[in-house]
Symmetry: C2
Subunit: 147 residues, 2 copies
DNA sequence: CTCAGTGCAAACGATTTGCAAGCTA
DNA sequence: TAGCTTGCAAATCGTTTGCACTGAG
């Protein structure tokens, strides 16, 4: 499976003096074949299952590389682990996260998008590069956790 | 220094069969004397400086207790450490976080507040219990980190 | 007197890093 | 070949936990 973004990635690698290694390519394809946020561990496991060799260290190192060059986003959604997601050009979306169970729902809201920009601008933050998370309780996790 | 919320806290402790220990009281007062998000470590240090004895373990255990009973909020703002903040009744605010340096700015926006509620509702999330974070780059951290 | 709470140190989970060996350019 | 990359294992970092002791009720 190939992705249009792969060529851009290769170009960046060359331009920046990085080498094109099999591990790098495998990982790149792997992330681009998942269409939502995924943990480093799940990526590793998923690659292992498919027989794609890569070590945990290399995985983390290359994820950071892809983040650095803008191919991947790395964020935390309240939990302990980072979630990775390949960028979706021209398709911004934000995340609604359950503070209890960690469930993540994606949503798109032009209205909130506009407000985000405005708030960023008002505080001297860069208005083009932003993401937003709403943390709340999902329907399974009851309104108020008693006990 | 005493806080109106302290009495509520004491009441909850009694009602729930928890004991009123000096460590608990010290910590409670400590958090309520800080008016923004603060790391566990800073709390510990700050208490140590003031000669208020408490161990790291007890600190974490009691922070969780206060979270459980709704006196404290515990969240991650992108960094590795949790941030704690005593609740500000009737004074909701959200956070704008620099994805680079971690700087956190508080803001209030009734408009975004309304949208949050709406989005929560639309996805079956609890609309009253929510917080929101915008992640972007602050003025010091330049638009696009080259290299 | 009892059992919840404390402190210490050890355990943990995710991620990062040092170093020797491997492989791109 | 040169030196970026890899894999392994060890290290780190913040937070959590087991356990014996302490002290609130």
């Amino acid at each position: 499976m190939s992705f249009p973004e792969l060529d851009q990635f290769l170009e960046v690698l060359r331009k920046k003096g990085h080498r094109v290694t099999p591990e790098r390519l495998r990982l790149f394809r792997e992330i681009y074949s998942h269409h939502t946020h995924i943990h480093a561990d799940s990526l590793l496991e998923s690659m292992k299952e498919r027989g794609l060799k890569i070590s945990r260290a290399t995985l983390y190192r290359n994820l950071d590389l892809m983040v650095k060059y803008g191919f991947v986003e790395k964020r935390r959604m309240g939990g302990n682990r980072f979630l990775f997601e390949h960028v979706h050009p021209g398709m911004r979306h934000d995340h609604l996260v359950c503070s209890q169970c960690g469930k993540v729902v994606e949503f798109v809201s032009p209205a909130i998008e506009a407000l985000q920009k405005e708030i960023c601008r008002a505080h001297g933050f860069h208005p083009d590069q932003h993401t937003l998370q709403i943390h709340s309780l999902c329907s399974d996790c009851r309104p108020l956790p008693e006990s």
